[in-house]
Symmetry: C3
Subunit: 146 residues, 3 copies
């Protein structure tokens, strides 16, 4: 079994941003080819996500609106059934919502490698979701296979 | 290390549907036995999910009601804290909600194989969640092990 | 390729509880060392989660408040866009919400092992989320690597 590991450093211009990393993953696989195996792609931070979806800018905005409006608003809302405050933010942080967003979307994906290629569906692309950026953060990428 | 890969084609009668695929996974493992390893089960589409939960029809309806009522309604709601529109749907699509449902539940699971068997808990079953079906869609299943 | 498997039995004092299991995972890896590989950590129950986030007690309470207030309330709420009842609870169960919480946060994570160590970011810790406890439940932990 072969293994190959690399790290991507992400430093987003905006505090929240969705970035397509598929081409970088394809490059890494072509530099370290395996015929059959798995590729783990995992954010090393607790306020970020890695996920698979569509390369479509409207959807990226939908995802951010959805996280803000439905899943985990950044600011405290006095609405019913919503906490007025994140306790985490009493530690001096302001990013409680970013932690919940990381949990909702997940922080890692595992991709199949078949006949030397990332075995993705025709529309599947891999994204880094930054929920508290503007500073260097890392993704670990590990190939296992033969 | 051995690897075995197959693809299931799903073509649901209803646009949204939850289907238990555990028996098909067990069959695939018995045809391609490994003693110790992992099985990746991953939807190859961005409007579908693969998840582990309970074989109970009431729960399947609860999951669909929850996705529609709480997580990502199919139609635009004028309620506060909810976007009036999915931008993705302005591309000519109408399935913005299906993308968000795929993200909320995830598109893949990785299952342990121990002593030649899928090492699931007593109630754990594996499901395909179709959020925009009535057309052929694929799941990739890959076994890695020895 | 080497594989090593163990099971943790969790029996929480409270019905819902978040428990840091990172040290137990590190111990298991140091007893069964591999240089390069993956570690799967997977709840064997359909009303529990395994996830990666921050060791901070305020955040753990935020997660529980969020699950109760926003994601999947335990009791039925008459609010708009929320089912008055979980159908699953008509089977004699009362834990429909715990199933949805397991789905929302996921039931497994896969962790990289690099140069003999769990390759986690500086703040990443691994948690068991019990959503219907006070009885023995299991987590399967499997190392694959070389």
């Amino acid at each position: 079994m072969k293994t190959h590991t690399t790290y991507f450093v992400m430093n987003t211009r905006k505090r929240q941003e969705i970035i397509d990393i598929t081409d970088r993953l394809l490059d890494f696989l072509s530099e370290h080819p395996v015929e059959e195996g798995l590729m783990l792609v995992s954010a090393m931070h607790i306020t970020a996500s890695v996920f698979v979806n569509d390369h479509e800018a409207g959807l990226w905005q939908d995802i951010q609106d959805w996280l803000e409006g439905t899943i985990a608003p950044w600011d405290h809302h006095p609405a019913p059934q919503r906490q007025d405050d994140y306790l985490h933010n009493r530690t001096g942080e302001d990013n409680g919502a970013a932690h919940l967003r990381s949990l909702a979307l997940g922080h890692e994906v595992i991709l199949p490698i078949t006949q030397g290629k990332l075995d993705l569906g025709p529309w599947q692309r891999v994204f880094y979701g930054e929920w508290d950026g503007q500073r260097p953060k890392r993704i670990v990428v590990k190939i296992l296979g033969e």
